[in-house]
């Protein structure tokens, strides 16, 4: 041993700065293993073909040591739960603009919160497997954050679940319901990819390019519609996302700087995951434009700010590595005119199979659409929506009783139109081992063709229904009065006629109005809710 330990240090040691301090607290903790070979300790580090020569070149984005992490995150949690409790204690739900708003939260809890949980497990996996210590620590911290997001969302929406329909079986539904296989398959796709692809899929494409579109305009919209609870969890989650986005950006830069051979692999992943993420955002487009009673900004405006402007700056920046904007970027920018209307039309038609309420926009809301979408709404969507609204008012609401064909990759029904022609549905197909597989777009077809052996595995809800895999144990397909769709809805654990009814006349609508009335009248309090 040297005598360093006993050397006088008082005057000579200057307190190390943030960067140096953080490096000492993370780098150097790891070592090259010798009793077990490194390739056994990190078995998944090379099979994707990504070449890393020097993990020390990794630049830590945010430099939070665990003590600082605990301190600041605990402060966030205390604030968040204080708001959540106050909101529940004061019946904050009655301050919402309109109970229609709740349907966007039902979609959030059943579609998004389970993804937060998947991100938690995925980052634990990648945080174990990446051989660089800086990257590993950042991933583990993200894993912990993502658990936070899943849990705070569950807790926040637990209050609504006690009073409103459609929240109650989020776990069961996420793994079964037709449109929820869209977000589920997205994350299953990412977590089953290698650790480097996962970093591009989630750390980069999803976190950096896309989550702002969910968490910023939508959550701002939640605040605008009086939902303090969702506002609190949403903004609080997004504050962690700032760390996650910088991690994603560092991951991509690092891979590109390490070896020129990484460029084509990374470019393919950017193409793929941009498109995969963009397809999931279809749900967000519809939440912004159709499900928020008071609207903060249109999908198109949000897309222009957070994708075109911000994403544009990002891809301009990455051009120095030879990265070009993702394939499909232009089509996504063009489709901003149509995305939300096409999606909402679909859910309106399939109301019977979705555990949230739908409606046709009011005359005033249609005018808002016309103003925000002057080049598309009046021409393509207003006539259809006005027709449906009239039919519904006349007691003849339109339901589509057939099952839609799903895209083999994104699993969204074939509802998107051809680039440049919003009157024609877009179909693509590929052959693999003598079978034909259908996709919704060039983007999804490219993804399929690159890795068909992965996408043929997909658990496609409609096919599963036709194969008889989506009925409860007491369903009897041989019975004379067997109603397969009804049996599927029951198997989804939907409360038939309650969760999946149109908004007009729904229990949510009735209760919200009755409860709200109690706050302003002298009618006896404590009446039991309609239909309970």
């Amino acid at each position: 041993m040297t005598d360093i330990a006993n050397a006088p240090k008082a005057a000579t040691t200057k307190k190390p700065g943030l960067k140096e301090r953080y490096a000492l607290m993370t780098r150097g903790l790891d070592w090259e293993t010798t009793y077990q070979p490194m390739e056994e300790v990190f078995p998944y580090a090379t099979y994707e073909g990504i070449k890393i020569h020097d993990w020390d070149k990794w630049e830590d984005p945010f430099r939070l040591t665990m003590d600082a992490y605990w301190k600041y995150q605990a402060e966030k949690e205390r604030k968040l739960y204080a708001i959540m409790d106050a909101f529940a204690q004061n019946n904050g739900h009655l301050g919402l603009t309109d109970a229609r708003y709740l349907n966007s939260l039902k979609l959030f809890l059943t579609g998004v919160s389970p993804l937060e949980y998947m991100a938690h497990r995925g980052f634990a996996h990648v945080g174990r497997q990446l051989p660089g210590v800086g990257a590993r620590v950042a991933c583990q911290m993200q894993s912990l954050d993502e658990l936070r997001h899943a849990q705070t969302q569950i807790h926040s929406m637990s209050n609504y679940n006690k009073l409103y329909d459609g929240f109650h079986s989020w776990r069961h539904m996420h793994d079964r319901v037709w449109y929820l296989s869209v977000p589920k398959s997205f994350f299953d796709d990412a977590i089953t990819a290698g650790p480097f692809e996962y970093m591009i899929a989630i750390g980069f494409s999803f976190e950096y390019v896309l989550t702002n579109l969910l968490f910023v305009p939508f959550i701002s919209g939640a605040a605008y519609n009086g939902d303090m609870g969702a506002m609190a969890f949403g903004f609080s989650a997004q504050s962690d996302e700032s760390r996650h986005m910088t991690l994603g950006l560092e991951a991509i830069k690092f891979m590109l700087e390490q070896d020129p051979d990484n460029l084509p692999i990374v470019q393919h992943w950017i193409d793929k995951w941009f498109w995969r993420g963009y397809r999931v955002l279809t749900l967000v487009a519809m939440m912004l434009d159709y499900m928020l009673p008071k609207k903060v900004m249109s999908w198109k405006e949000a897309w222009e700010i957070y994708a075109e402007e911000n994403g544009g700056a990002l891809f301009q920046d990455l051009a120095r590595y030879g990265i070009r904007p993702p394939l499909g970027w232009q089509q996504a920018c063009d489709d901003k005119e149509h995305l939300s209307a096409q999606a909402w039309s679909t859910f309106y038609q399939y109301q019977g199979a979705a555990p949230f309420h739908t409606w046709m926009p009011s005359a005033e809301e249609m005018d808002w659409q016309s103003e925000k979408y002057p080049d598309s709404f009046d021409e393509y969507y207003r006539p259809r929506f006005e027709h449906w609204a009239e039919q519904e008012a006349a007691g003849n609401r339109f339901y589509n009783g057939t099952l839609p064909m799903l895209c083999q990759v994104c699993q969204i029904p074939m509802l998107f139109t051809e680039p440049g022609d919003p009157t024609r549905i877009c179909y693509r197909e590929s052959e693999h081992k003598g079978e034909t597989y259908h996709t919704c777009s060039d983007g999804c077809k490219n993804i399929f063709d690159y890795e068909p052996e992965k996408y043929v595995q997909a658990w496609l809800p409609v096919q599963q229904i036709y194969q008889g895999n989506c009925f409860g144990p007491d369903a009897d397909p041989t019975a004379a009065d067997f109603n397969p769709l009804l049996e599927v809805i029951k198997w989804y654990r939907m409360n038939v006629g309650v969760d999946n009814s149109p908004y007009e006349g729904s229990r949510d609508q009735q209760n919200f109005q009755a409860w709200k009335q109690q706050t302003t009248s002298n009618a006896p309090a404590g009446g039991s809710p309609a239909g309970a």
Binding site: Y72, N212, V216, F235, S239, V296, N310, A313
Partner: protein, 89 residues
């Protein structure tokens, strides 16, 4: 030219942070939205601990920004005294 941005939840601390940003970055554009405030600056912005401390009248650790932060864009460079967002030219 590309824009960097940072957004905070609307509250008392954020008010001081945003004031500090606009003082130190004269081209900053402040954009108020429901429950949040977003600041856009062309190319890059630097946030100084000392200015925030002046605005808030107390000691401030730049990592404390995380408590109020909603989102940002650009490359992050962080030290004890400065927090910079930029797009490299």
């Amino acid at each position: 030219m590309s824009t960097v941005f940072i957004a905070f939840q609307t509250n008392e601390t954020s008010r001081g942070i945003v004031e500090a940003i606009t003082d130190d970055n004269p081209t900053a554009v402040v954009n108020e939205q429901p429950a949040m405030v977003k600041v856009d600056v062309p190319d890059s912005m630097t946030i100084y601990r000392s200015t925030i401390e002046e605005k808030l009248g107390r000691r401030f650790d730049l990592q404390e920004m995380q408590v109020h932060l909603i989102t940002l864009s650009g490359h992050v460079d962080e030290s004890d005294d400065e927090f910079t967002l930029s797009w490299k030219q």
